[in-house]
Amino acid sequence: MAAESLEARLAAFVGIEAEPPRTARYAVNEAMIRNWVEAHDDANPVYVDRAAAEETGRPGIVCPPAMISTWVMAGYRRHREIHRMRAEGVVEDFAYSRLSRLLDEAGYTSVVATNVDQTYPRDVRPGDRVTAHITIEAISGVKNTALGQGRFLTLRKRYHDADGELLADERFRLLRFKPGGGAEDDEEREGRA
């Protein structure tokens, strides 16, 4: 009975907006791009050297495509707040927070990202203000994975600049799973966070 109820409650999240549109806290900028390319030891000069970027026909330096999601990340302070609220069982009033709570309660407390599909209609450049619209596209049934029993979530993320021009279209798939192999029943995991 509990499982049926969970399925129905999960199904209600499919197709809806995950959270309000996320607008970057700051414009795309050279400092964060440089930190990124150093951390990945990427020697492509178009990310850091204006002259080299212009030589390729670009108006100036550009952002590594894989960095698109970085611009709309919530930041350290907000990250800590979200985790504190999650530990205290506080549920914020948007769909993804409620869905996350539901999955926590069902024992799917661990998360691992599994797939990213992205298209990039144009280069992202310093000065761009990125906004992401995120919808919950799919929630799978229970799957037995190498990590344990889990459910796959697919999020659709569309990133636009301040004028509404599409910068990236993404499908992000993640697995919410029960840590420790997932052999237990839902009930045994309840309360763990």
Binding site: A43, A51, E55, G57, A66, Y76, V116, D117, P179
Partner: protein, 144 residues
């Protein structure tokens, strides 16, 4: 003539990337990803993995690097589709290998694998195209 002057089946030179704890943490933080599984070994174990592991965005970043190391600065990645397999931990060496799949006139699609000793960490297809306006001397302001 295909983009980049290559044909289907052309192999990219392999690239070995030695991962250590500092790099995994630096890359996660550079992407503003503060999830504990990418920097806190104790929390990572609680969550069911033996150690911290490379974030999916960092894997994507290393794919960017591998592709443009080969295609050059005058290229632009237009699409990436990646699937993670086994996790990548500190101490692993990730070996990237790639093959040219479709080689259309304006772009090429690459099939790429990044593997460690336990198997494929990532399998991906990445589409890359030359930038629209290659070097025309604009660098010195010779054109308007």
């Amino acid at each position: 003539m295909n983009a980049f002057g290559v044909s289907t089946g052309t192999e990219l030179p392999p690239l070995d990337i030695a991962l250590d704890r500092t790099m995994i943490v630096a890359a996660a933080i550079a992407s503003q990803d503060f999830e504990d599984v990418h920097h806190d070994p104790g929390k990572a174990r609680e969550r069911g993995t033996p150690d911290i592991f490379l974030s999916i965005n960092s894997t994507n970043g290393l794919l960017n690097r591998y592709v443009t190391d080969w295609a050059g600065p005058g290229s632009r990645i237009t699409a990436t589709s990646l699937r993670l397999g086994v996790p990548a931990f500190p101490g692993d060496t990730l070996r990237f290998t790639g093959t040219v799949g479709e080689a259309a006139p304006g772009e090429v699609t690459l099939s790429i694998t990044g593997s460690n000793a336990r198997g494929a960490h990532v399998t991906a297809t990445v589409t890359v195209a030359p930038t629209a306006e290659p070097d025309t001397g604009a660098r010195r302001g010779e054109t308007t």
